[in-house]
Amino acid sequence: MSRVPPSGIELAVPPHPEFLQLVRAVVGAAAGTGSRSGTGGKSPLDPGRVADLRLVVSEAVTNAIEAQGAVGATDRILIRCRVDDEQVLVEVVDHGPGFDPDAVPDLPDVETPERLRHESGLGVALMHRLADGAEVESGPDGTTVRLMIRPG
């Protein structure tokens, strides 16, 4: 997946949950009204896919807030969004401690009693389920998540 080019929307928010609603609103508006590259073209996504986009972005930024909170990093979280004719690309960049994406454990089956112990960890599964592309690049300086959403 290509990087999100710098010509799209860019938003930097403090790592606090209170800003999640703002991020969803901005990304949702960018993808839903077709403000792509200033050409006034139509969004490629129908309202249902815009809702999916809002959800996966919320998951990515929530993870970023948690990651930075774990080490007390106060850097702002960067959200880049680019809408073109065929897709919406979103990049979420944090300055958390990083993690090994392959080491995220699978959740127990939903109907086993152990499953109810897991109140978190659903976010990554949701991102993979809803996005047409989800990439995680993580290192000691932080994590970048790239999400691609295409029409459903």
């Binding site: 209170e18 999640l20 939903v110 109810l116 659903l122 599964a125």
Partner: protein, 136 residues
Amino acid sequence: MKFDVHRRGLSASGSASGASDGLVSNADPGVVVLTVLGDLDMAGAPGLRQAVVTEVADGARLVVLDLTAVDFVDSAGLGVVVGALRRLRAHDGELLVVCPEPRIRRVFELCDLDRVFTLHRDVEAAVAAMDRRAPA
């Protein structure tokens, strides 16, 4: 809509027993309805978690969580709903979820949580299901 949780008590038969006050006695805690408003995400989650903790500590064992007025839910929000179920079951209680909105139901389904929760269309349906489960 700003996030908020409203509380009201119902008698065991499902009729209203007063607004959000202490009219429901501890001896017969009846059914507590928690109505969630706004976005149920990482920002809203602590408020709902605290509301459930308070209800269980006050003796509630049958709780209806009304998500009709929820505008958005993500996995952080669903985590609190799962946690509420676990907390109530640990006290031999039960949690019922009211969720008529397709866009909110969809998130439950995406997380396979529609297999854990029956998503009721309104509070009356949830209370009726509760009565079938544990006749008063």
